[in-house]
């Protein structure tokens, strides 16, 4: 376009003189009419088709109460059903590394003289007079004072874990009973619940001596109700 100097402005006095940036401007933009590339039309059609299929398969019939329709993918993966409950051992491992590994170590070997091992410990897999109820009780209220583990004596304190839920405690115990070569029956959340109820609201950490006075219970391999006390201890004080 020709550049207009201020002199060929309409003579209406007020209009400002065009400044340098305005004077070097090109013409106002306009458009050519080139056709849309053919491949773009095809690609757009494919994208819209895919979107339609996706919507059809995943809209749950546009009903307000369908939250998770079957997600049928081309590979056949992903069912819309309720999520499969995760393996308690996996959850147990995570809870263990969050809560217990600081003291008992990720390897379960503990620290000599301070934190007793869990690997092959009679407290974990069961021993002469130690039952599954003792294990759950230690977790719920903690433990202190001298304790023998695999022939070594430890004298330290373990904090209580009653703030964890029944299924979390069950998951941790199931994990430590089946890891590192330990092979004991899983502990169920129901069992933790029974033991918690039996212990009442005991807050003080257990000592080995107190625990020894409580008759041992073991969950049978079937995982059903705990067996009757292994050796009915005479005149055992009620589980405090």
């Amino acid at each position: 376009m020709t550049s207009h100097t201020p002199s060929n402005e309409p003579p209406n006095g007020e209009s400002p003189a065009p400044n340098a940036p305005v004077l070097r401007e090109g013409p106002e933009p306009s458009e050519k009419r080139a056709p849309v590339p053919f491949w773009l039309i095809i690609l757009s059609a494919v994208i819209i088709f895919w979107a339609g299929i996706h919507l059809a398969l995943n809209s749950g019939g546009f009903q307000a109460n369908v939250y998770n329709p079957s997600l049928v993918s081309w590979s056949g993966g992903g069912s819309g059903g309720p999520a499969v409950a995760p393996d308690p051992k996996v959850i147990g491992k995570r809870l263990f590394s969050q809560n217990c590994a600081v003291c008992h170590q990720g390897s379960g070997m503990g620290v000599a003289g301070q934190f007793p091992p869990l690997v092959a410990s009679e407290w974990v897999v069961g021993g002469a007079w130690v039952g599954d109820n003792h294990l759950v009780k230690i977790l719920l209220a903690g433990m202190q004072g001298p304790v023998q583990v695999k022939g070594n004596t430890y004298n330290n304190a373990m904090p209580p874990w009653s703030q964890l839920k029944d299924d979390q405690i069950a998951a941790i115990l199931t994990y430590i009973r089946s890891e590192w070569g330990n092979a004991a029956v899983p502990i169920t959340a129901d069992y933790v619940k029974t033991v918690r109820a039996a212990s009442g609201d005991r807050k003080d950490p257990w000592t080995q001596k107190e625990l020894k006075a409580i008759p041992a219970e073991t969950i049978p391999a079937g995982g059903a109700a705990p067996a009757a006390p292994a050796a009915p201890a005479p005149a055992a004080p009620p589980a405090a």
Binding site: P18, L55, N58, S59, G60, S73, S97
Partner: protein
């Protein structure tokens, strides 16, 4: 849109341009100036929040500066203090230019600009004192929202009146985008404020509305305004016609149709009817269509003329910005696929895509437009091409660095969160080094914005005598066929 190019001669001469420009100058400069203040303010708070993510005890012990407030303040100051007024300023100038009419009653626009900034100030102060509504992008308390809406209605009314008095013949593609933007914003903002802030609807429906607003705010407000600027500046700067009005039409209508729906895809797995999420996924994937249409159209227009990018600040920023818009849409499409989003949903990838869209696309395009518009309004040239060059490289490096580390770290974080055997704590440890680099990138962005603010202030304090040569950021080849393009 245009049917015959010959029927659309360049009816605007320099004198008319100068008259139109001087009629909009005051409000446009007001919007740009205040926007740049909020840009600096918001990006400093973004930096503070990024540091807090890496080093939580940074600036602790003061309720005003807790992460919950600084991060929200930065998002809202950038969205309503910077991006929206910048878009309004660009929109006002473009509307007047493209409609070829002088602006009547610019005082009402000055008033709107002042009211808007009062609203933003009240909103930010409201967040600081603890009145955050906790809805993303709508965090301003209700009392600020009313003020903002009032200001915008003044602006929208002006835009529509101007549009009706237009002297231009057939509509140009930028005008379509402008009208769409000026209509969408009040519609989105009023609806979302009514349903979420003023009279909140039942809680279970709120996330869907909030996601719809956040998607619409970007796709139906910022994207059309940025594209309107790009479709005006690029052909003008290189002195060529836009390649294809058909491609422009495809881009425009596909953006309008799908843009509003794409927000809900991020609600995957949430307590909402499945179709809402699936509609969002379908719409996000279909956003690849406008992305390609815009990219092809502008590429064919620029083909063989990219050289002007090296010396013209306006062109360089605009083209960089639009390229990042294309990437934003494509990445968002990929990220919305259920198989992907179930992993990435709560990871830093969301942060990366927001940054790419808001800063990489919108801010860069707005910088380009401001570099083009302001010399015309003031008659002064930019004071320092060296600072402009710093601005460009700091901004580009900052945004690309942050986006790439956050995508990478976000993937690792997403898989860690997805894995039931990994503790939350460890997923934080994995992302840590990436967030550290992202905080450095936030610092680069603050420096870039500072450089921009300095150039802008320098122009107004007339650090350069009038009549000097335009600020080119590289030496223009002697025998270049390209126009000066600044």
């Amino acid at each position: 849109m245009s049917n015959d190019q010959s029927s659309q001669p360049d009816t605007l001469n320099s004198a008319e341009r100068a008259t139109i420009d001087s009629s909009v100058a005051a409000p446009v400069i007001l919007f740009f100036g205040t926007a740049i203040f909020w840009l600096l303010f918001g990006s400093v708070f973004e930096l503070i929040s990024a540091i807090k993510l890496v080093w939580p005890c940074f600036l602790d012990g003061c309720a005003l500066l807790t992460y919950g407030r600084t991060s929200v303040v930065s998002v809202n100051a950038l969205a309503f203090g910077w991006a929206t007024p910048a878009a309004i300023g660009i929109g006002l100038w473009l509307t007047a230019r493209l409609c070829r009419v002088e602006l009547a009653r610019y005082k009402s626009l000055l008033a709107a600009g002042i009211i808007w900034n009062i609203g933003t100030f009240v909103g930010v102060a409201g967040i600081f004192v603890g009145d955050n509504t906790s809805i993303s992008h709508l965090n301003f308390p209700g009392y600020a929202t009313h003020i903002l809406l009032l200001a915008f209605i003044l602006i929208a009314v002006w835009a529509i009146v101007t549009f009706n008095h237009r002297k231009s013949g057939p509509l140009y593609v930028s005008q379509w985008f402008l009208v769409a933007g000026f209509f969408s914003f009040p519609w989105l903002y009023a609806t979302a404020s009514q349903l979420l802030v003023w009279n909140p609807i039942q809680a279970s429906a709120q996330p869907a509305i909030a996601a719809w607003f956040a998607g619409g705010f970007f796709n139906l407000w910022l994207a059309p305004m940025g594209l309107a600027a790009a479709f005006y500046l690029i052909p003008k700067a290189v002195g060529r016609q836009i390649n294809s009005n058909h491609l422009s039409l495809v881009a425009f209508w596909s953006l309008l149709l799908f843009g509003a729906w794409s927000g809900t895809s991020r609600l995957i797995g949430g307590p909402l009817p499945a179709w809402m999420v699936s509609v969002g996924v379908a719409a996000s994937v279909m956003m690849i269509i406008p992305a390609l249409a815009v990219a092809l159209n502008l590429h064919f227009t620029l083909d063989g003329h990219y050289a002007a990018m090296s010396w013209s600040p306006a062109l360089r920023f605009t083209i960089t910005g639009v390229s990042m818009l294309v990437f934003t849409w494509v990445f968002t499409a990929i990220n919305s696929l259920p198989a992907v989003s179930s992993v990435t949903n709560f990871s830093d990838i969301t942060r990366a895509l927001n940054l790419l869209g808001y800063y990489g696309f919108f801010s860069m395009t707005a910088f380009g437009a401001i570099y083009y518009i302001v010399p015309r309004l003031t008659g002064k040239e930019w004071p320092s091409s060296c600072l402009i060059s710093w601005h460009f490289w700091l901004a580009t490096t900052g945004v690309l660095l942050a986006v790439s580390v956050l995508i990478l770290g976000g993937l690792i974080q997403g898989f860690a969160l997805h894995d039931i055997g990994v503790t939350f704590r460890s997923s934080m440890d994995f992302i840590f080094p990436f967030r550290f680099v992202a905080a450095l990138a936030a610092l680069l962005i603050v420096c870039a914005n500072l450089a921009f603010a300095l150039v802008f202030a320098g122009l107004h304090w007339s650090l350069r005598r009038p009549g000097t040569a335009p600020a080119l950021i590289a030496v223009r080849e002697e025998n270049s066929q390209e126009p000066v393009a600044v």
